[in-house]
Amino acid sequence: MGKMQCKCGHVNPPGTILCESCGRSLTEEEQNKKLADMRYEGTARRSQTYNKSIIDKIWNFFSSVKVGVSIIVILLIAAAIGTILPQAQYVNVPVRNDATIKAYYADVYGEIGKIYHFLGFHDLYSSAWFILLVGMLAISLIVASLDRFVPLYRSLKNQRVLRHPSFMNKQRIYAEGPAPEDSMQKAEEKLKDLKYKVTLDKNGLLAEKGRFSRWGPYVNHIGLIIFLFGVMLRMMPGFYVDETLWIREGETRAIPDAPGYFLENKNFTMETYTGEGEDAKFEEAIDRVGTVAKNYQTDIVLYQTPEESLPGATDELEEVEEHAIRVNQPLKFDGYAVYQMDFRQNELRAMTFDLTNKETEESLGSLTIDLVSPEKSYDLGNDTRVDLLGYYPDFSGFENGEPQTETPIPNNPGFLVRMFTPETPDGEVSFIVIQNTIEPLGENQYKLTFQNAETRDVSGLTIRKDSTLPILGLGGLIFMIGVAQGMYFNHRRFWIQKQEDGGLVLAGHTNKNWYGLKKDLDQVSEFASLPPYIDQQEEIEKQEKLEKEQKLEGDELS
C-alpha cells in the first residue's frame, strides 16, 4: 500500500480515510456514507492498515478495544474467584509451608478446598497467569493508545481551515444558506467571546476549543502504565523492604534491613474500651460484642550508630528520637516506616526457684533464670550451686530420651539442671518444666521449687521501605488528571466558509456532548444571523424510525 495523495495535493499516510488536510473522503466506502467517521479524524491507524507480518498481527490484537475489554473482564472474573476462599497469606497455620497450607485447605474446606488449592487459586494474585494477564493489559494499554494517539495528533496538527465541501456536508451539524454580509466577522467575534481559538484562511474560518480533552484517554493510560511500572519495580532489590521485628520490652535490637539503626522497646500497651467515663456511650455496644481494643502502642527509642563506628558496634548508639508507635501512626525515618502490627502479652522473661531440701523443705537460697540469656551456672554460696546443663525454651517432649524444643520462644521452658549442695557434692540431676519435675537418674534429696515468674510484652513491628510509592502516586495523579481531562472537557470545532454566491456553509463537530455544542452554536447563530443548522444524525434516526413504522404498518396491512 502506498502513500495516498489527495486531490488537494496533500500526501496522506497509507490507510487514511479522510484527507488530513482538506477532509475529502479517500476511500470508496467512506464516500458512500452519509456522515463522515470522525472517531479518529479518519486517520490511518496502523492496526487498520497493515495485517501481513506477525508483528502486524500482534499489534492489531493488542490495539483492539474488544481485546482490551476482554482482558479486563477475564481479570475481573479471576479476581473474583480469588475471593471465594481466603488466600494463603490470610490462612492461619502454626507452621507455614506448602504442605501445611495444602493440608489446611483440605481439612477446613474439604473437597472444594482441595480443588481450589490444586488449581492454584489459594495464591491466585501472585500466580504466573494472573501476572501475565496484568502484563497483557499493560501492553494493550500501550499499543491501543499509540495506535490511536499518533495519527490523531498528526491529523489535528495538520488540519487546515478550508475543508472540502464533501467533508463539510458529512458533518453531523450542518448548515448552508444565505447570510448577511457581516456574518463572518460577527461569528468570529462571538466565537472568540465563547473562548474559541479562531483561525482564518481566505474565505474560511476554523473555531476550535478544548483540543486537549482529546488527549485525556492517552494521559490516563500513561498514568496507569506508570503505576504498573512502579508495581513492577518493587520486585527489584533495594526498592522494597518488608521485614518483621519481634522486640521485647527492655530490648534493643538492630532494625533488619536498615543498617546502622537500632530500636529500643520501652513499653508495650494494649488498651480496651471500658464502657465507663468517656466511653460510657459505648456501653451497649461493648456489652454486645465483648472486648473492643482501643489502642496498641509501643513506646520506642530510635538509635543510630555514629558514622565513623565499625559495622555492628552497638556500644556508642546515639539517640535519634523517642516515638509512640501506634496503629495509623508509624515511626518514620530515612525512608523507612515502622508499624505496630502484632503483639504477644505476658511472655515469660525470668523464673525464680528456691533450692529446697525435699524432706525438711528448708531453702538453701534462690536463683533467677533469665529466659532469654540464661547463665551456665548459678552460685548460691556455701558450696551450693546449680548448673544449667540444658535449656529448652519451648519444651515439646522427649525424643530418644532427649528433651526437645519446638521454638526458641520461652512459652514452656524446661531446664535440665545439676544441683550441688554440701550434702550432695557430686550433684543431683533434675529436669524441670512448669508444674513438673523429673528425676532421670534416681531419687534426689533436693529440688528446685518454683517461686515466681517475671513476664513482659513483645511487640510485633513491621519495617517497610517502599521507594516506589512516589512513582505509584505520580501514576495515580496522572490517571486522575487524564480522566478529568477526557471526561469533563470536550473538543468542539466549527468550520464556516463563505461561498462565491455570498451564502455560508457551516459544519460543527464535537467528540462528545452535542447538546453543549448546539448551545454554543445557537448563541453564535443568533448573533451573526447564520443559516439554520440541522443535526444530520437525528435526521437519519428520524428517517429510520419512520421507515420502520411504515414497514410495520405495511406488515399489518398485508
Partner: protein
C-alpha cells in the same frame, strides 16, 4: 432528648419523607396521561421538595450521629448502609436538578427506602472504633466511596427505568426474565426486612453450641427459627425448632437461615403482589414509564458513571491505598473488600470502553448500569457478611 436519640428520630423523618415522596413522584408520572407535562411538573416539584426535606433530615441524622459518637458515622454496617441510602438520594437530587425527571425519583426512592430499612436490621448502637479506624482517613476514604457509589447507583436507576420502558413484558425473552429477576431480588430484600423485624419484635432467640472449623466448641444465638443447624449442634433453648439439616463447619448456618427466611418471605410477598396485580412486577411499572424519554435516561445513565467513576477511583482505590499504607503498612493486600473494589472499578472501566469504543448505548448500557449496581451491592452485603476479611463490619 440525647444527641443519639435526636439522630435516630431524624432518620425516621427522612424515611417517612422518602416514602411520601415516592408516591407523589409516582402520582406525578402516572397522572399525566395525554403526554402533557403540566401535572408532572407541578406534582414533581412537590415530590422533589418532600425529598429535599427528607434528605436534609437524613443529613441531620448523619451530623448528629457524628457528634454523638465522636467519629464519622461510617464505621459499621448500619452506619455505612444508611449513608449509602443518603448519597443515593443525594445523587438523585443532583441529577434531578440537571434533568428534572420525576420518574427517576419513583424508582430511586423506593430503592433508598429498602437500603435504609436493610441498614436498620443491623445493630445500630453507638460503637467504639478499633485502633485501625482511628484516623481522619475513615471519614475521607469512606465518605468518598459512599458518595461515588450513591452516584453510580443512579446510573442503575436510570438504566432500570430505561429497561422498564423498553423490555416487552408480554413476550417471553431473556430480557423479560432478568428484568423481573431484578424486581424479585428487590422484593427479597423486603422479605429480609419483614422477617428480621417480625422475629426481632417477637424477641425470638434460640441458642446452640456447635463445633467450629478449628474443632473447638462455640456457641451461637439464632434470631430466626433455625432452618439450618450448625456443625454438630446442640440446642440449648427448649422448644426451639429442630433444624432440618446440619452444615459443615465452614458454613455459618445462622446466616444461611436468615437468607432462607428472606427468600421464603420474599417469595410469598412476590407471588402475593403478582396475584393481586395479575401481572409481573416489571409490568406494573409500564404505565409509569410510558412518557419517559429513553435518550434522557441513557444520558443520565452515562452522566452518573462519568461523575461516579473518577470519584470511585479516588475514594475506593487512591484514598484506600494511602490509608492502607498508613494503617496496614501496605497499600494493597488482596483483601476481599479491596479485590471487590478493584472488580467494581474494572467493571466500570469496561462499561466506559464498551460505550465509547464499541458504541454500547441504550439498552446495553442500561443493563451494564444495573449489573454495576449489583456488583456494588455484592461488595456491600456479601463481602461484609459472608467473605470475612479485614473490612468485616458486622
Amino acid at each position: 432528648m440525647t444527641m443519639a436519640e435526636l439522630s435516630s428520630n431524624l432518620l425516621y423523618v427522612a424515611f417517612v419523607a422518602y416514602l411520601i415522596a415516592t408516591f407523589v413522584f409516582g402520582g406525578a408520572v402516572r397522572g399525566n396521561k395525554e403526554g402533557s407535562f403540566k401535572s408532572e411538573g407541578r406534582w414533581g416539584k412537590v415530590a422533589f421538595i418532600v425529598t429535599l426535606i427528607g434528605f436534609l433530615s437524613h443529613l441531620g441524622y448523619f451530623i448528629t450521629r457524628w457528634a454523638a459518637t465522636g467519629h464519622a458515622p461510617l464505621s459499621n454496617m448500619f452506619e455505612f448502609t444508611t449513608a449509602f441510602g443518603m448519597t443515593l438520594v443525594g445523587g438523585f437530587i443532583v441529577l434531578y436538578l440537571l434533568y428534572k425527571t420525576p420518574v427517576l425519583g419513583m424508582i430511586v426512592l423506593p430503592v433508598a427506602l429498602l437500603i435504609i430499612a436493610f441498614a436498620s436490621m443491623f445493630p445500630s448502637e453507638v460503637s467504639p472504633l478499633i485502633p485501625a479506624l482511628q484516623t481522619n482517613w475513615l471519614a475521607i476514604h469512606v465518605s468518598t466511596v459512599v458518595i461515588a457509589e450513591g452516584i453510580l447507583a443512579i446510573s442503575a436507576g436510570a438504566g432500570l427505568v430505561y429497561l422498564l420502558k423498553v423490555v416487552d413484558m408480554n413476550k417471553k425473552s431473556k430480557q423479560r426474565f432478568w428484568l423481573e429477576a431484578i424486581m424479585y431480588s428487590l422484593v427479597v430484600v423486603m422479605g429480609f426486612v419483614i422477617a428480621s423485624s417480625y422475629f426481632s419484635l417477637t424477641g425470638y432467640q434460640a441458642d446452640f453450641t456447635y463445633v467450629n472449623k478449628d474443632g473447638n466448641e462455640s456457641s451461637i444465638t439464632y434470631n430466626m427459627p433455625p432452618l439450618v443447624g450448625m456443625n454438630e449442634y446442640t440446642s440449648l433453648t427448649e422448644g426451639a425448632m429442630e433444624p432440618f439439616f446440619e452444615t459443615p463447619a465452614i458454613i455459618n448456618a445462622s446466616k444461611i437461615t436468615t437468607v432462607l427466611w428472606s427468600f421464603f418471605v420474599g417469595t410469598i410477598l412476590y407471588w402475593l403482589i403478582r396475584l393481586v396485580a395479575r401481572r409481573r412486577i416489571a409490568a406494573i411499572f409500564k404505565p409509569f414509564v410510558k412518557n419517559v424519554s429513553l435518550q434522557l435516561m441513557d444520558e443520565i445513565n452515562y452522566r452518573a458513571v462519568i461523575i461516579g467513576f473518577p470519584l470511585f477511583t479516588l475514594g475506593a482505590l487512591i484514598f484506600a491505598m494511602i490509608w492502607a499504607q498508613i494503617a496496614w503498612s501496605r497499600f494493597w493486600g488482596w483483601d476481599p473488600k479491596e479485590v471487590w473494589a478493584l472488580i467494581t472499578w474494572l467493571f466500570y472501566a469496561a462499561y466506559l470502553h464498551l460505550r465509547l469504543g464499541k458504541g454500547w448505548h441504550g439498552e446495553k448500557s442500561a443493563w451494564l448500569g444495573v449489573v454495576g449496581f449489583a456488583i456494588i451491592m455484592f461488595n456491600l452485603v456479601a463481602v461484609n457478611l459472608i467473605i470475612a476479611g479485614l473490612h468485616s463490619y458486622a
